[in-house]
Symmetry: C2
Subunit: 265 residues, 2 copies
Amino acid sequence: MTEPAHDAEAVPAPPWERARRRAAPVRVPLTLDRIVDAAYTVLDREGYDRLSMRQVAAELGVAVSALYAHVTSKDELLDRMYARLFDGHGLPDPDPERWREQIKQYARDGRARLRAHRDMARISMARVPMTPELLPHIEQLLAVFRAAGLPDRVAAAAGDMLSTYLDGFAYEESMWEERRREAEVASWPELRAGMVEYFQSLPPDRFPHLRDLAAMMIAENNDSRFELGLDIILRGLASYIPPGHGTGEPGPAERGGDDPGQATG
Amino acid sequence: MTEPAHDAEAVPAPPWERARRRAAPVRVPLTLDRIVDAAYTVLDREGYDRLSMRQVAAELGVAVSALYAHVTSKDELLDRMYARLFDGHGLPDPDPERWREQIKQYARDGRARLRAHRDMARISMARVPMTPELLPHIEQLLAVFRAAGLPDRVAAAAGDMLSTYLDGFAYEESMWEERRREAEVASWPELRAGMVEYFQSLPPDRFPHLRDLAAMMIAENNDSRFELGLDIILRGLASYIPPGHGTGEPGPAERGGDDPGQATG
DNA sequence: TCTACCATTGAACAGTGTTCGTCGAAACGT
DNA sequence: ACGTTTCGACGAACACTGTTCAATGGTAGA
């Protein structure tokens, strides 16, 4: 949008201000942060396919080539955007009694961050989550899993499972969102209704299960679908905890047989 | 490059050949199938980033615009390539006794297909797996899950879980493959060794778990990592089967001691 | 005030997906 | 056998893309 505090600095600095060591520059200096900000603005407005260096430059009112003084390539810019995903995103200290809820909370937060910017999941999916800035996150995830009693082999795989599920789910969501957009259907419930109707119209002898479950497969709100998938993974992980570990007991120990209370979406 | 079998057919057909109803055409006709073939050739040789309409046209020795007579856009071409993934790919009839092994086999086959062509996972990931040709696949997946005794809500989510895991895992694999390629490291074990060494070199007080599990996180062969993730999901799914369903019981019912101790409900 | 620096510029290059008017060679009707 | 019609391939063009580079201008230090 418009640069904040611009009007105050656009006027030439009066001579007596020159005494100050560093007079405010006439133009707000181009920094990596401002570039990333602009990139996010373009992303939200135009989507990933239209996110181009030229658009970002235009957003800043600057020549394209100016960006390359602060960023070596578009790929690096995307990396910087990706890094922002994790600002202030972390896990509390491991609590074996509540590890499932801790992981769920972490995943919910992660999904919310991915949804906060249009097509963000596509950017996230395309980078490997092992950059140095993320090492503390991986470390703490491992801490939680090990404290819960997961065998090392399983703990080592659990982080990847979780991040794959997170990115994959969000990616899928954003794809449907895009499809809705270009189908020019106003709302998601409307698109959903059309799809369910389509599945119901299939020949019953060839697609009995699809007909039965159509309404469930295309959930009204993705939140409960997300929670269910999360639960499936967590139950699977818990099943590897050797007996004798407090609350992390596997199997049907989890109360509420079929419809476990899905936490607030 | 040069058209094959050109010299034999470039000469004008002698008059007596005209008697044949359909003389062999001077040029092999351009069909959608040949275009998809060529696209796969380019994909395997150049990778997804260099897969362009012009490259495909060049592969066929044809003008770019000629492709658009058979395909409305590059996106449709990618769709056609995606559709090939499922040729002859299917599940056997549901067998509640062996549903886990059936699903595993299906997933293994799926992963093999994704790995058969370079960057195929990137194409697969970017399309929603609900095109009409795939409906029978979804139907049969649902059949297996329901026969196994999964509650409808869970069965409806299970297919998505599986395909997200499949695509996500293969996508990640192809990203590492690409990274290895551009890092100009000869072999995967070599890259792996370097990464493990890097993790081991981290400050032990800040990254104890990462150090411990580095060698496990970056598995020597991805096969066992894939199987483990698959098992986690299947165990999670199985935990939703209400008691009283033959072999589909959660817990150690599945023979093949993966990690011994886990309590049955 | 002069100079040296360096962020910014505009133009250019080699690509991309897609469109369009033209053309040539088969296919058809006579 | 000969027009004529039809249709697919062609080449050029358009509006983009990421990236590079010599030239430039304003700022900071001497």
